[in-house]
Symmetry: C2
Subunit: 232 residues, 2 copies
């Protein structure tokens, strides 16, 4: 979870006690072999064991609740949600444990489908937004910039044009990881121009309402901007 990924220095994010508690409670759940439906120890008890106040523990429990790990019930206690898997899932995502190839894989899967849907469903407004993104990127590159802003706009416009909120949500979920890939790729000399050209091919296929061509163009594009990563 960084901020200001642009050239600036990383602002050290100070550790928060509740974050540490979340880790410890997660570890406890695992070590104690707790299963969905089981109860966590009482707040007063848990707070004492962990050496923190109830107020702080309450924050950790809120975090776990938002993460979908537990369900706190007034008068009963904190019960483990039926799918504790999402815990490690989200944790893994946030910690960037996922390797780059897998991210590219997920991205191409989602964006390939989004491109096809965009070709089928795009409205005039959607097309205008896509063209605008292309203009922005072209202008950025002309100014000697990498065109990251236009690039981002373009992919957002495609996502919007697909008119599928669920897929859009999944894209948002991995957006941060993709952003890193994108920035590195556009840093390569000559890359922005190539990237812009493949964007144009995608836009043309969507304009022509050709789903198969749109998917193909999108996959080729992602292949282009991703291969730099795979050299590692």
């Amino acid at each position: 979870m960084e901020k200001t990924a642009r050239a600036g220095l990383e602002r050290v994010s100070r550790p928060r006690l509740y974050e540490q508690l979340v880790e410890q409670i997660l570890a406890y759940i695992e070590s104690a072999q707790l299963r969905p439906g089981d109860l966590l120890p009482a707040e007063r008890d848990l707070a004492e064991r962990l050496g923190v106040s109830r107020a702080t523990l309450a924050q950790a429990l809120v975090a776990l609740e938002v993460l979908g790990v537990i369900d706190v019930q007034h008068g009963t206690g904190a019960v483990l949600a039926r799918r504790p898997s999402v815990a490690s899932v989200i944790k893994g995502l946030r910690e960037h444990q996922s390797r780059l190839p897998e991210i590219v894989e997920a991205r191409s899967t989602l964006e390939g489908k989004l491109a096809a849907l965009a070709a089928e469903r795009r409205t005039g407004d959607d097309l205008a937004a896509i063209d605008n993104a292309l203009d922005v990127m072209a202008r950025e590159i002309n100014d000697g910039d990498r065109g990251t802003h236009g690039d981002e706009l373009f992919h957002q416009a495609i996502t919007a044009a697909a008119h599928s909120s669920v897929l859009a949500q999944l894209m948002a979920f991995i957006a941060e990881m993709i952003l890193e890939t994108r920035m590195e790729s556009l840093g390569q000399p000559g890359r922005p121009e190539q990237s812009l050209a493949s964007h144009r091919r995608i836009a043309d296929a969507i304009r022509a309402q050709d789903p198969a061509a749109a998917t193909e163009a999108m996959l080729a594009h992602i292949d282009l901007v991703s291969d730099v990563e795979l050299l590692r």
Copy 2:
């Protein structure tokens, strides 16, 4: 966010103050036209305005932080994250605002790819898990059950066999929504048997390491189990 979706009654989940605060703060951000990087009012100030204690407000801020809406910095304040979009995104997901067709769309996109990857990458253990899931489902159906458990096991086994943690995470993210679709579908008379047969076709393609056939079989399967929904 329900619990015990199985036949049981819904346990009324009592409203929590912090949840209400999250809504109010979200509304405030919108109404005050705050942009990424802007600061929220100070905790003491905000707590007083909302008529709650600082401890409770702190819980709401933790929730917003976990949701990715804000980033609380010691000594500075709560700054809006650069992508406030994910806020409404996750909120929308949790509230099931997404319509069924879109869920099916996302599911087929992901599982189609997962089936192809499984065909390419499955190990002997993966195959054994898939076969085991088929056995479980067959036994359940023989006992007059709907086979939901075996069904779930099967799709989990496919996901595991694809060996892509990012895609697996995305699947987990929409798993709850899919569960509902699955249960309804298998409730139809004759459906469990049809579903089992199409599972076998998927398994055969994965056994034969034929990605294209696996994707095709998976898409046909999802089509089969989903059409009941689309009748609405």
